[in-house]
């Protein structure tokens, strides 16, 4: 009886530990992908304001990162991954369809912009609309600091 209890306890704690590890794992993964968004966007932000010269290749690689990471991010917010060290708000899981929809829109916009942006003029016209989704999502689904 006592042995069975001990075995059960060991299993249970191992399971719990795995769950915690898995959870901190998805948090780390999604944060890494988000940080990649930031690193790709920063130089492009300078081009938007005219502070740094327009560089089509950098813009295209940012758009590629958006499309790729936005798709990869959707499964990284599983139910129950809102605890621990995360800036993800519970509203993500209350409005999961809307949340996932923003990633879909972001990926689709980035893919469309990748084809449509050919020069500085089209970049300045189209790009701000693509990254507007970042702020939309942060405003409703990310913890305010």
């Amino acid at each position: 009886m006592r042995l069975r209890l001990a075995v059960f306890a060991a299993f249970a704690s191992a399971l719990a530990a795995t769950a915690v590890m898995a959870q901190s794992d998805v948090i780390a993964q999604r944060e890494a992908l988000m940080k990649e968004f930031g690193r790709a966007t920063r130089p492009v932000g300078g081009m938007l304001r005219g502070g740094t010269p327009f560089d089509l290749a950098a813009v295209q690689s940012a758009l590629d990162v958006y499309a790729r990471n936005a798709k990869a991010l959707v499964p990284l917010f599983p139910e129950g991954s809102g605890g621990g060290e995360t800036e993800a708000l519970p509203s993500i899981w209350q409005k999961k369809a809307e949340f996932d929809g923003l990633f879909d829109k972001f990926a689709a916009d980035a893919t469309a912009a990748r084809a449509a942006i050919t020069d500085e003029a089209s970049f300045k016209a189209i790009f701000p609309g693509v990254i507007r989704t970042c702020g939309t999502c942060h405003d409703s689904f990310r913890k305010k600091s």
């Binding site: 930031g38 966007t41 920063r42 492009v44 932000g45 300078g46 938007l48 304001r49 502070g51 701000p128 990254i131 507007r132 970042c134 702020g135 942060h138 305010k144 600091s145």
Partner: protein, 239 residues
């Protein structure tokens, strides 16, 4: 009013006395407008964040100017003239509660500390703004010289100071409206025209204005301090 009629117009003392010199008033209203615009540009979309940065830099210039003017400007603008100890603030508060506050030509003891509080909090907001990012595409002038952690902390402070500033501004505006429209001292009119009706003041009157040349000097130093400071620190002073 009961001046002898025989006196010529030239020697009749004017009905008003100087309370605030022109540079003080310009700095005051410019700061008010710029802070208002900074609130507005925060809510006008991502594109307006560039405007918001210029706004913040302009606020910094006015703040540095006002601090310099508080050292070398007109008499009522000087910190040494309007900053009084806690005893004076307390007795002013007690007198006000009794409904008979003494008249001051410049800032009263409570108002003087509000000036410091406002300069301090607006200054903190402007300085943290220099290190703030929207975490998407807009990076403030000094973000490139600090770590990501510092940037995140400054961005958080920039948001946390905002409600404190709103609270102070509310107090400041309410106190001035009450003084001007419920009390007998129209502070708002005085800050616009620069003059107050002749009367008995607890501080020295009339005010001695600071010279325009000195004000221009302070402005030049303020601009050089803000933009030169950012450039020297390795930042980009022109967003």
């Amino acid at each position: 009013m009961d001046a002898p009629l025989s006196r010529s117009a030239a020697t009749t003392p004017p009905a008003t006395v100087l309370a605030w010199d022109l540079p003080t008033r310009i700095a005051k209203w410019l700061l008010a407008v710029l802070v208002g615009l900074a609130f507005a540009s925060r809510y006008c979309g991502d594109g307006a964040l560039v405007w918001h940065q210029w706004n913040g830099l302009a606020i910094l210039v006015v703040l540095v100017f006002r601090v310099l003017w508080g050292l070398v400007g007109g008499s009522t603008a000087r910190f040494s003239r309007f900053l009084r100890g806690p005893g004076a603030v307390l007795s002013y508060g007690v007198a006000m509660l009794r409904g008979r506050p003494p008249h001051f030509l410049g800032h009263n003891p409570a108002g003087g500390w509000m000036v410091i509080a406002l300069l301090g909090v607006v200054g903190a907001q402007a300085l943290t703004g220099l290190f703030t990012t929207d975490d998407i595409a807009v990076y403030a002038p000094l973000t490139n010289v600090v770590s990501d952690e510092t940037m995140a902390r400054a961005s958080a402070w920039h948001q946390q100071i905002y409600p404190i500033l709103l609270l102070l501004l509310g107090l400041h505006v309410a106190a001035n409206l009450a003084h001007s429209f419920l009390g007998s001292d129209n502070l708002i009119a005085a800050m616009i025209t620069g003059r107050k009706p002749r009367g008995t003041f607890a501080d020295r009157d009339p005010a001695t204005p600071g010279s325009v040349a000195r004000a221009v000097g302070c402005l030049v130093v303020a601009i050089a301090t803000v933009f030169g400071g950012i450039a020297l620190a390795g930042g980009n002073p022109f967003p």
